[in-house]
């Protein structure tokens, strides 16, 4: 079997369902792959490792990909793990913010990833506000605690499948403004990236084929999928993960290799408009459809 190294974006969590289920069901074996899965703590590391050739594949985020390619990192999207945004603007359900316009003069927490200001600027724009009308606070490690503790009135960068459930379990339910419903071009939250110069396209194709089978299996049998996923590690078996699983599996891409070029072009244009990138690159510089080659 061919050995390949995959770096997740973070610790194992329900977002990684297809990967772990493929592993459990032996789909990688069937595809002639022996996949080593590494879980880092800092989500900004994996794309670097992939670009540096230290990993064959990394799980990353579409918005970051645009910035990284603009800065010259040899990276391309080769597959999709979660095909919708997960990011949301989170507020307390019984809090003072009922619509975007209520954010005026409020504190908004974020965890630095690079695009928050652009995303927020667009969302606020739909209500006629600008970044000047709010106070931004970097709360790095703890989005929902900062919100629940009342340090901030809203947070951006929270995951709808995760923080919402967490808050519910803690008894302070939250409300999510979905970014793609508030003016942002939709995008793929989790993608697979690789170094286009060094990657082994055939191996990645086989990898994506295996996760495609796993994603289909999960969509067809979500409960069995959960059992398989949570069976991989004792730490995964808890209420939060179980709830998150239910909110996550419908978002797994069942066509992981498939590329919607328009999504990438629109998001590139959005970032250019927001001033985060200097020039608009063609989609072919950002992403590749391995199935089409």
């Amino acid at each position: 079997a061919d050995r390949m190294t995959l770096i997740l974006d973070w610790f194992v969590n329900p977002d990684h369902g297809p990967i772990l289920v493929a592993q459990e069901l032996g789909y990688f074996d069937e595809a002639g792959l022996e996949v080593e899965i590494i879980a880092p703590a800092d989500p900004s590391d994996p794309p670097k490792m992939a670009a540096a050739g230290k990993a064959d594949l990394a799980v990353s985020y579409q918005p970051q990909l645009h910035l990284q390619v603009a800065e010259g990192m040899p990276l391309k999207r080769v597959g999709t793990l979660i095909a919708t945004p997960l990011n949301c603007l989170l507020v307390l359900q019984d809090g003072p913010v009922e619509e975007i316009a209520d954010l005026e003069g409020k504190k908004i927490g974020f965890s630095v990833a690079g695009v928050e200001e652009a995303v927020l600027g667009r969302i606020l724009g739909t209500a006629g506000l600008t970044l000047e009308d709010v106070e931004l606070v970097n709360v790095n490690w703890s989005l929902s605690p900062a919100l629940m503790a009342g340090q901030v009135d809203a947070v951006i960068g929270a995951y709808r499948n995760f923080e919402l459930n967490q808050m519910e379990i803690e008894g302070r339910p939250g409300h999510c403004f979905y970014v793609e419903e508030e003016g942002l071009p939709t995008y793929d939250e989790l993608i697979y990236v690789a170094n286009p110069e060094t990657m082994d396209a055939d191996m990645i194709r086989r990898f994506l084929g295996a996760t495609e089978k796993a994603a289909q299996y999960i969509v067809n049998h979500p409960d069995e999928g959960w059992a398989l996923f949570s069976g991989t590690a004792r730490e995964l078996q808890d209420e939060l993960n179980e709830k998150a699983w239910a909110d996550t599996w419908p978002r797994f891409s069942v066509t992981p290799a498939g590329l919607d070029a328009g999504r990438y072009a629109r998001f590139e244009a959005f970032l250019h408009e927001a001033g985060l990138i200097d020039e608009v690159l063609p989609v072919s510089d950002l992403a590749v459809d391995l199935g089409a080659e």
Partner: protein
Amino acid sequence: MRGALRPLLPALALLALWQGIVWAAAMPAFILPSPARVATALISNAGLILHHAGVTLAEVLAGLALGALAGAATALAMAVSPLARSLIRPALVLTQALPVFALAPILTLWLGYGLWSKVLMAVLIIYFPVASAFFDGLMRTPPGWTDLARVMGAPGRRILWHVRVPAAVPALASGLRLAAVYAPIGAIIGEWVGASQGLGYLMLLANGRAKIDLMFAALIVLAVMTLLLHRAVGWACDRAVARMG
């Protein structure tokens, strides 16, 4: 302070090493940019970096002053009272044993995201080396001196102040030199946990935007700031120790 120029030599050596690594290991720029790229980023972002550096410097200086005071006071308390010693010492170790990273979110939630959470982080991180080194020094007073002071009828408090403290100044200086290096780390950690300005924030932001050269530029400024602080504190300590004969 002509000696302040001498670190230029090792700085050059380091630069050479850095450039060497970049060439030899064919380091991609997004992991380790070349010195030239970083220099460019440094110059073209000078205003931005300077602004954030100023914020961090203020946090560091406040943290250093408060942390040194708190550490020294703790060492004194432990030195006078065996009870305080057995109570405080494990607590002191605990303040370090619990990684500030783990406590940082809690502290930040209490103190908010302003200056003080960073100052507190710097204080927490330098508190222990200062207290520990000073305490060790206080417990090593040559017995002849304390014997003499006791026969002279000095109360313990004054023995502490006039004999044990001066005798422990070199040890305190040792702790302060460490503190000068750790205080910036504390402030940076504080900024990572939650801030909207400062070099730590700038580094996170640059990293998030894949501007690794900007991140390294901020890093360099931080390093230079630390070096200068270490030199200044070292110089002051050397003078104090020399005065202690």
